[in-house]
Symmetry: C2
Subunit: 207 residues, 2 copies
Amino acid sequence: MVNIRLPMGLAARLSGYLAILTQSEKSGRTHISSKSLSEYSGVNPTQIRRDLSAFGRFGKRGVGYNIQFLIERIREILMVTGEHNIALMGAGNLGMAISSSSIYTDHGFRIVAVFDIDPAKVGRQVGDIIVQHVSELTATVPEREIVLALLALPATAAHEVTESLIEAGVRIIFNYSEALIEAPAEVVVHSMNPAGELLHALYLGQR
Amino acid sequence: MVNIRLPMGLAARLSGYLAILTQSEKSGRTHISSKSLSEYSGVNPTQIRRDLSAFGRFGKRGVGYNIQFLIERIREILMVTGEHNIALMGAGNLGMAISSSSIYTDHGFRIVAVFDIDPAKVGRQVGDIIVQHVSELTATVPEREIVLALLALPATAAHEVTESLIEAGVRIIFNYSEALIEAPAEVVVHSMNPAGELLHALYLGQR
């Protein structure tokens, strides 16, 4: 296992490739060209070839990269093998969409707890899980070995919930809300930016 | 208005900054430092300063960038001023979450039509809009001047719906599903990659 610190941009791109390669494999493919990978990822083919040449094997001309080989190598390099227990914060529409999606389970992410503050949602069943009140967070995080929390809640609730998560010992927060979240240096907050991506799509399409 | 073709990475980053700056302004701020913008965007501060120096004015030391000024300049450069009519494809949990979010309306995106194929959803009201059957797409796209479609549907339905959208004249497709979509060169398909981003968050938090 290569255990060096990857440049920030490279780690982000490899993570993106890994998700795309996994989807490709599920759809029955065994090989993928840098051109296809470029179309799906939005990264230019030259950059892709440069990123993947680090693995010591090049894609064959006319055949492309071996998908299974790349998946295994990238997983090792990113150290994202194994299972990762997630707490889903928010049992609204977005939370329900996330919990019913298979794209997270494909990568070893397991939602092991769902929290909300709405009395109408607490106690309800989401998949196999009973929605708990946020007040149970401190006990639940160590009990279910939760390493990552996914925020699928209104921006107004995000800051308070983030504080509770940090107090409960969660060190990785994946922010699906529109809130701008600051956290201590030892906590990783990674935010989705769908509005930014939509603006980028509009830019690309309007030229 | 600067009407040059921006490098691919720069356009993506500026789109991301624009969404974050808009959120910052909404929360009542007038200025932002490159450090804060870095924390929210995941782009390193040096890159941010380089990207924004192109605007001819630098952030003041200790004060930071003027948010309103930057928003206006970036909007012009990306040519994303004005209103942009959207068709939302899918009235499930994800579609409902998207339609109730304000982050799109902040940037002039207006959902003017919602489509589904599920008879239980067609005819229902989502906000001010009645869910239509996908078969009405061809008539509705020109009628409501739809420039962009947002896919919030299962991967299995994504390819067929994409074909219908292209036939109906939509040239920008924002893919929120996990499907890998290929399209003709004149159509822009931009895909969200939440699994890729989650893997990146895990990588960042595990070191």
